[in-house]
Symmetry: C2
Subunit: 373 residues, 2 copies
Amino acid sequence: MNLIRTREECYLNLNPLQTGGRTNAAVRLTATSFIDGYSVCDYCKGVLHLIEKPPICQLTKDLADFLGMDEARLTNGAREGKFAVIHALLSPGEVIVVDSNRHYSTYVAAERAGVRVYEVRNTDYPEYEIRPEVYRETFEQVLKETGKPPKLALLTHVDGEYGNLVNAYEVGKICQEYQVPFLLNSAYTAGRMEVKGKELLADFVVTSCHKGFGIPGTIGVLATTEKWIDRLFRKSIKYPKKDIELLGCTARSEASACLITAFPYVKERVKHWEEEVKKARWLVERMESLGEIEQLGVRPKEHDLIRLKTPLFSKMAEKERKKGYFIYYELEKRGITGIKPGQTNWFKLSTYGLTWEQVEYLYSAFSEIARKA
Amino acid sequence: MNLIRTREECYLNLNPLQTGGRTNAAVRLTATSFIDGYSVCDYCKGVLHLIEKPPICQLTKDLADFLGMDEARLTNGAREGKFAVIHALLSPGEVIVVDSNRHYSTYVAAERAGVRVYEVRNTDYPEYEIRPEVYRETFEQVLKETGKPPKLALLTHVDGEYGNLVNAYEVGKICQEYQVPFLLNSAYTAGRMEVKGKELLADFVVTSCHKGFGIPGTIGVLATTEKWIDRLFRKSIKYPKKDIELLGCTARSEASACLITAFPYVKERVKHWEEEVKKARWLVERMESLGEIEQLGVRPKEHDLIRLKTPLFSKMAEKERKKGYFIYYELEKRGITGIKPGQTNWFKLSTYGLTWEQVEYLYSAFSEIARKA
């Protein structure tokens, strides 16, 4: 079956999962060149992170540096990185503290490891903010209920529901105070904005490169500090080059080669993060000016992922023939995609990587649709 | 950095890891179309195996059928599938029995799960055969030493060292007799030859599609029978669509779309397996006729992965300026690649997917090199 996905070339795609993963021409060239199964293993050196041709060895060092950590490995993605850390550090029944805005896979990774989850609650409507001091309250609760501090704390640097950026350094300080190892999930930050793990007092950083580094997947990074290298990257007894938690090699695909190609672009693009935030703020302001539209999450926006509550559109939907789907089709007519079909009460979108002209066009499209009311 | 890998287009590639993973034009088209991160998630239905566009939902059902099992899921590869089964079934300290020709990642997956490994030894030089009855001996040993049968037995259907095909059905019968769940690793068989798991009495089948289905990676399949569905594909309490052992979604990349495109080709190619075996046997016969070359592993070949002991070439290497590397460079001059550089005592190669003309050319190249002696 020939499968052609036209939307990426023909539409403005607002899907927050995807805006940071769009590939450029150089990355596509590398991908095509390395598309055959196991092609990055042409010159195997016993394990993925030691391969010199293509220079995955150098890439792995560069990624550790880029994330402000001491040592890094490629993974199959952020969730696989999270599971690796949890599995390496915790035994079943032990406690992990996570923010309540965490991705579902954080919870599922904890379930897989059989550990107990305590959640740092957010402030609820309308900001759903994760306040660092609530980590302290949650640690105290764990201490009270189990007699011990948690074995690990995880923070979702920017979450995928509201696009809230949390002050990771403040969380890191509380973790240090309680001597709780600190895992930062930077899937929505690394590759977009500068993330320096050690400066944020993180012991572990995971990220997703098909989400934030403009490449195909599945691929992520797991980085740590000197202190944890031996524990996290524990070697097989029989195969001394193989990291047990990574089952030897992880992203043994063209994605690793693509990351090498994408890396200089990514290093450059994080410098322009402020401009990305400006676009998000501009769009929020305009959208709210349409009336009966409210940005959820912390204000003003500090990220491109925007969640809007849109009673304006849900009221319109009642009168529309296509009901809740009307907004999806109205946008599609205007060359815009990536909003979940059927949703009008609220939706998420991302302005990441759009030009100012595109952001303006986006607003004009919504504004046209709103005027139909 | 622009990375161009020319070898796949310009050389005969003999690397056994790669011959079953070569992509055709249709697959490359799909790959390019879905190359952006998370593009298969355009029409998310809550979990990868339920996506209808592209039809991963149908693919997953077709794969279960293709492998002769009741239910299947995509994974990040064979090793990740093996770990999922071990982790779902065994607690730390429990016993798994594996063949001694198993891939290193089988051992590392067991280490990661903290389980004890008993190995079914092979017959050693020159055939290194795994005889099914040795599973019985090993089960008896486990019973004697631990008082219980093992919790799982794994068989590498065809191994990556000698290309030996083991009679899985006979292993399955012994597993049934001892009521030991049976995991078949078909990374080197599925996608090349017909593999029908239930007919082989397997409870679990894992495979690697970037190794055996002509697509990019990383992607594999994990399939099971009715009996084990609930245990293996246990759902998250909070997220009832998410399989815990898979952390929700696995191969969330263009590889899933590529597998849909490749699937009809793969179904067709397994019908021509006998021809592939003929080519391997023909080459072995000719190579051995050169003298001081001996095929290791079971004779005659029943698989395209060939391991040759080559004292002929190691003697030549002593006199060559490039020493052990000479064979690699001599082959390279003749447009042939995929033999590990530096190796002359023995090497592995695969004839999979070569035309008869290419196999003949391959022999003529080796024969030319041998005549230099």
